[in-house]
């Protein structure tokens, strides 16, 4: 029993940590620009593949490869905004479609280059081995990832509440027009937010995937829908909500998986049902403050 509970807690946190990092960026972009960036999951997936290829080409320079890949993804995020999102900002459906097109494009490109076969980037595990705690053994890479995720989330919170850019991001997300009147270049702030969100996704991927594996180019969609679910739960545009929502989703998944009959096959349905219930009872989510648009 104690092992089951440990199992639930650890995997809930693990799941939550990755969801929180991905949804944080996603939610940020939605909050600031009202933009649903469908390519967000693709950034996550692309990071994994770039890491895999990078490691094969430069086997000795893992650390540099990681940094390089994160920079590339951040730049891709910026380009997405400049080339695709910015010209279409006013049409909701347009942005959704074009970023969907981009995600699809990236997926298909990788599919052509490497096929659907899974691959592992196991060789880039920074902390191999396991640690035992209360009779439950935990993979060191995951422990590192959970800690890193917490640190990144706190640093991000600090950044958003204290720095000038962070404050202008908050200003734009609360009232874009007023922020513009203060002399803030809203488009540039949006550019930065999309880049930050891509950066967060890239960090999450480069820390989590070495312990996971690349399960095919379609994996981006899984993470995209999960982060959809998380931000609905937490409240769209709410940063606290996306972190809390991510952990709640993580725990619901691992709880279902371990304690409910037929749990493993329901593990990804129950969170969706929770989302539907939340949507119907409290459409703005747990932490959503804004009125529905």
């Amino acid at each position: 029993m104690i092992e089951d509970i440990m199992n639930m807690l650890f995997n809930g946190i693990l799941n939550g940590a990755v969801l929180a990092l991905i949804s944080l960026g996603y939610s940020l972009v939605y909050g600031v620009g009202g933009i649903m960036n469908m390519a967000h999951g693709a950034y996550f997936m692309l990071t994994g593949y770039l890491l895999l290829w990078g490691m094969r080409i430069f086997p000795g320079m893992l650390f540099l490869t990681v940094i390089f890949v994160i920079i590339i993804i951040t730049i891709i995020g910026g380009l997405t905004y400049i080339l695709l999102i910015k010209p279409l900002q006013d049409t909701h459906v347009g942005v959704v479609l074009i970023t969907f097109g981009l995600a699809f494009l990236i997926e298909q490109w990788i599919l052509i280059v490497s096929g659907t076969t899974s691959a592992s980037i196991n060789d880039y595990v920074l902390f191999p081995g396991t640690t035992e705690f209360l009779g439950y053994s935990m993979f060191n890479q995951y422990i590192f990832f959970i800690i890193a995720s917490l640190v990144i989330v706190s640093l991000f919170a600090l950044f958003i509440s204290k720095s000038k850019l962070g404050k202008s991001i908050r200003a734009v997300s609360q009232d874009r027009e007023a922020a513009v009147l203060m002399g803030i270049n809203a488009n540039r702030v949006l550019l930065y937010t999309v880049m930050i969100s891509a950066f967060l996704a890239a960090i999450a991927a480069s820390l989590y995937l070495p312990g996971a594996a690349l399960t095919g180019p379609g994996m981006g969609w899984t993470y995209l829908t999960s982060s959809f679910a998380v931000i609905i739960l937490g409240g769209m545009g709410s940063l606290v909500g996306s972190v809390v929502g991510g952990y709640i989703m993580g725990f619901v998944t691992s709880f279902t998986s371990i304690f409910l009959p037929n749990g493993p096959s329901w593990a990804h349905v129950v969170p969706l049902i929770v989302i539907l219930i939340v949507l119907i009872i409290r459409p703005r989510g747990l932490f959503g403050k804004k009125k529905l648009r």
Partner: protein, 234 residues
């Protein structure tokens, strides 16, 4: 200082502004009055760049500013205090003020301006750490004005500062406006409450259905029978 020449603006097919000619002198306090939906707010939005005029020319200090992005116009020294305050409600009063000084890189000017504002609205100084959303309506309006003053503007545009306030508070706000004017900031005020507006305003413009129907000093306009009947209720 600011000159609008033959400005036209449309929302879709509906005409919002028609042949607006407006000239504001340095250190003046101009007021635009008019009924609801006459295009008063649109006028200010066109100046601050939130809406691009469909035709016409706007010059500020001899430079064309129409077509510029609003944040560029703010940098040129026009500050727009928008209708319904539009504060950053989830941020503290202090952060709101900091946002107001976003374009102001000079620390000493910022401090001087801050001092002036706290003198003007001592209440804000007490509530510096409070979230803007928790302020009362009057305080929020004060904050909105203070925020737009912090960029140390050459021209201040104010949209309905008295909206939804109790008469007592209204009066306070208008006193502050006069004080701001006395400090030497050129101001363009849009106001529905014609009585109050005429008290502070030097030049009054009457805007009806997108056109400027009448203009003159407040004394001149007060004598007009139509103004008397419709706007002053005498």
């Amino acid at each position: 200082m600011l000159e609008m020449k033959k400005i036209y603006h449309y929302y879709g097919k509906a005409r919002a502004l028609e042949e607006i000619n407006l000239k504001i002198e340095e250190k003046a306090l101009d007021v635009v009055i008019g009924p609801n939906g006459a295009g008063k707010s649109t006028l200010l939005r066109v100046i601050s760049g939130l809406e691009e005029p469909d035709r016409g020319k706007i010059e500020f200090l001899g430079e064309r500013i129409d077509g510029l992005k609003p944040h560029k116009i703010t940098k040129k020294g026009i500050s727009h205090c928008p209708e319904r305050r539009r504060l950053f409600y989830d941020m503290t009063v202090e952060d709101n003020l900091k946002m107001g000084a976003y374009v102001q890189k000079n620390r000493s000017i910022y401090n001087k301006q801050l001092e002036f504002i706290f003198e003007l609205f001592p209440r804000l100084k007490e509530r510096r750490k409070q979230r803007a959303g928790t302020l009362s309506g009057g305080e929020q309006q004060m904050l909105a004005i203070a925020r737009s003053l912090l960029s140390n503007p050459k021209l201040l545009l104010m949209d309905e500062p008295s909206l939804g306030l109790a008469p007592k508070v209204k009066k306070k706000i208008f006193e502050a406006i006069e004080q701001i004017k006395n400090e030497g900031t050129t101001t363009l005020l849009v106001e529905q409450d014609a009585v109050l507006a005429m008290e502070v305003g030097e030049t009054i413009h009457l805007l009806e259905e997108g056109k400027i129907e009448m203009r003159g000093t407040s004394e001149e306009l007060k004598r007009e029978p139509r103004i008397k009947k419709v706007y002053l209720g005498i």
